[in-house]
């Protein structure tokens, strides 16, 4: 059975299953969300107005039998935070269930004429609209629980917290995990507000009895699955007991701190004296000491990497899941906070209220720089979430992110690109990531630059670290590869084993080719990725973005960053090379 597009129109409360048009037939995941947004959304529309859309798409291999670590769902729209096109993806239950219903993408459009709020239930029999007035104001923990009480078969719950209802620019979209907790977020870029602008509080997906995912070439798929699984399970980083499985993504905390690239106290230093206390190693120690919670937690069924964790408090009660590197950096180091329990408490608030943890932590750091509270004041930092929960004017400001807060409080040291604040790698100390932050179609984004074996990318083995030669080309290859992986449904972390293990890369390509019935080789990966990037870049150009938006913030160009005391000094012409190809030929 061919995949369908499910178009849900909130203006007249209708749902239509449409045949997938030829122009979208090859796409899935990010490739599909960006194609649909490019084709159907006016780039000059207001992100919160009637003409923006939210597109939800599983990847090529999502929902297939036991493709390893393939539970990512892509969410796309025009971002209220950046004004650019946006794709944010999440783990959790939704990807596999949407795919198994035979749905290539859900397009959510329009706004209810009666101004009421709804939640939407999708199963094999179709779509039903439900009154959501009793869910309004509720956090995602309660919404997830209520949805499982009302609907059978442990469905996926895609939802927005109170900040999404308020159309705040830092509202993320939550997806429940196998234990029905929120914490899997399509966090970045305020897509929760795009969902809120359609007056949809939640989308519940039950795949029971669904047709499943058609696999055109099962032998090729199985062969690829075996190679990829072997690569993941044999690589030091992704194997059982390896770096990610043992310590989670927060395994990076001590490394980046040792390197002098950990953004600390609103990007004023590259080292934090309390880094070890908020690191993945410390999470593991706490789980052992408190005999509660866990490391090696799977965020979606079928994940073999299992890099998530469940963090316990001193009394053994669970505080939050997961504590990731980005979370610990933003709510910890960047706020001068070295207490994991408080990082966990703030993470819980973000997950429940519906906030992206990176943007929120960076926003608190701006408030600290503005003098609303001191760096390191964990009690007051935690109390800021009450302002958001109680919907005070200050809470409204904070839930609109770094740039809004900096503007209101007169802060000029603003670590953003295209309106989105930077993740946990200081571009002054680690210059390579700066190329990606500056030029990504998504604003400052750390997930835009994953890579695959250089000989496959055609960039050669040799990359001179001391010059800019070839760096723009390399950044493009990374961004294109990432756009491809973001379309597969696979977690980006498969990039580690497939980078190092040739068979793993072949396996990834073969699983995609097997599902789609394609003749696909490794050489196609970058080209397919570039097609996605081109649509995104052209959308942004039509929305008014130019090369002048592909820049690292001014203060990083004149303020030396300790301990290396370096500034951002990459010439603008080098950055402009990354997307120069878009208008060629």
């Amino acid at each position: 059975m061919a995949r369908k597009i499910l178009r849900i129109n909130m203006t007249d409360l209708t749902a239509k299953y449409e045949d997938i048009p030829e122009k979208w037939a090859m796409w899935a995941g990010r490739g599909l969300t960006s194609s649909i947004i490019y084709d159907e959304v006016d780039p000059t529309c207001h992100p919160l107005g009637p003409n923006n859309k939210l597109v939800i798409a599983p990847g090529w291999v999502s929902g297939t039998p036991a493709a390893p670590s393939s539970g990512r769902t892509s969410f796309g729209g025009k971002s209220p935070l950046t004004g650019t096109i946006k794709e944010a993806n999440s783990g959790g239950l939704s990807s596999q269930k949407i795919a198994r219903l035979g749905i290539a993408a859900i397009i959510l459009e329009g706004q209810p004429k009666d101004g009421k709020w709804y939640y939407i239930h999708i199963d094999k029999d179709g779509v039903t609209f439900h009154d959501a007035s009793d869910l309004l104001g509720k956090g995602m923990e309660e919404v997830d629980r209520i949805m499982w009480e009302r609907h059978p078969n442990k469905p996926a719950v895609i939802g927005i917290g109170p900040v999404g209802e308020r159309l705040a620019s830092n509202a993320g979209i939550s997806v429940n995990d196998p234990e029905n907790n929120p914490g899997r977020y399509a966090g970045r870029g305020g897509l929760g507000a795009v969902m809120g602008a359609r007056h949809v509080k939640a989308i519940v997906v039950d795949d029971k009895g669904g047709p499943g995912v058609e696999i055109k070439n099962m032998d090729l798929f199985k062969q690829g699955r075996k190679k990829l699984t072997n690569a993941i399970l044999s690589h030091d980083i992704t194997k059982k007991g390896g770096g990610l499985n043992a310590y989670g993504t927060d395994v990076l905390m001590n490394i980046i701190n040792e390197a002098g690239g950990l953004p600390t106290r609103n990007f004023s230093s590259g080292q934090f004296e309390g880094a070890a206390k908020i690191s993945g190693e410390m999470i593991a120690e706490m789980v052992e000491k408190r005999k509660a919670g866990m490391t090696g937690h799977a965020c979606h069924p079928g994940c073999v990497i299992q890099c998530s964790n469940i963090y316990p408090g001193p009394d053994g009660k669970i505080i939050a899941s997961p504590i990731e590197y980005e979370t610990a950096f933003a709510l910890g180091a960047n706020c001068g906070i070295d207490d994991l329990d408080f990082v966990a408490k703030m993470t819980k608030e973000c997950n429940d209220l519906g906030l992206d943890t990176i943007e929120m932590g960076n926003t608190i750091a701006i408030a600290m720089e503005a003098g609303l509270l001191e760096f390191g004041d964990k009690e007051k930092a935690l109390a800021l979430f009450d302002e958001i929960r109680n919907d005070t004017p200050l809470g409204r400001i904070l839930s609109n992110g770094v740039e809004a807060t900096a503007k209101v409080f007169g802060v000029h040291r603003v670590p953003t690109v295209k309106g989105q604040s930077m993740p946990a790698y200081e571009p002054r100390a680690i210059k390579g990531i700066g190329f990606t932050y500056a030029t990504s179609t998504m604003g400052a984004d750390h997930t835009s630059g994953y890579t695959i074996a250089p000989e496959i990318l055609g960039t050669g083995q040799k990359v001179d670290p001391l010059t800019y030669e070839g760096k723009a080309e390399l950044s493009l290859a990374f961004q294109a590869t990432t756009a491809f992986i973001d379309s597969t449904g696979y977690c980006l972390f498969i990039a580690f084993p497939i980078l190092d293990i040739q068979e793993g890369f072949e396996g990834m390509v073969e699983t995609v080719a097997g599902v789609m019935g394609w003749d696909l080789s490794g050489d196609d990966v970058v080209e397919i990725g570039k097609e996605i990037l081109k649509k995104e870049r052209l959308f942004n150009e039509k929305a008014g973005f130019t090369n002048a938006d592909d820049r690292i913030p001014e203060f990083m160009r004149y303020e030396p960053l300790p301990p290396h005391n370096v500034v951002w000094d990459v010439p603008d012409e080098e950055l402009d090379k990354v997307y120069a190809w878009v208008h060629e030929s």
């Binding site: 690589h235 770096g243 001590n254 390197a259 790698y425 990531i433 890579t451 670290p465 390399l474 980078l499």
Partner: protein, 117 residues
């Protein structure tokens, strides 16, 4: 002379930690990274990333830092072999001259350089 040493991951156990151990270490003048390892019975193949004063001196599988000298007051950070620092989060970070030279002529993108000994 004294250095501050941080051991991360499985090698922390060799110095009495569980997952991290940070401690001051007395060493004779002229000591090298391999002397630091010897003091705790850590084998070179157990280590990966090595930092001295926030400068990267080694990558998993290379063992280029073993003869690098450490000096009084240095901070030395050593990670167990199975830590990842992907290239796209690493490219452009400060490196020792020896490592910079190596990576300018060899595969630098992989987690573990392919021709690493």
């Amino acid at each position: 002379m004294k250095i501050e040493l941080a051991l991360y991951g499985s090698i922390a156990r060799k110095a009495g930690g569980r997952h991290i151990k940070v401690l001051e270490v007395e060493l004779p003048d002229g000591a090298r990274v391999r002397d630091v390892l010897d003091k705790f019975g850590i084998q070179p193949e157990e280590i990966g990333l090595v930092f001295i004063n926030a400068v990267l001196h080694d990558l998993p599988g290379l063992h280029l830092s073993l003869d690098d000298e450490v000096h009084d007051g240095d901070h030395v950070g050593i990670f167990a072999e199975d830590y990842v620092w992907p290239y796209h989060y690493r490219g452009g970070a400060p490196m020792s001259p020896k490592l910079a030279e190596y990576t300018s002529t060899h595969d630098y993108l992989r987690h573990r350089p392919r021709d690493a000994a």
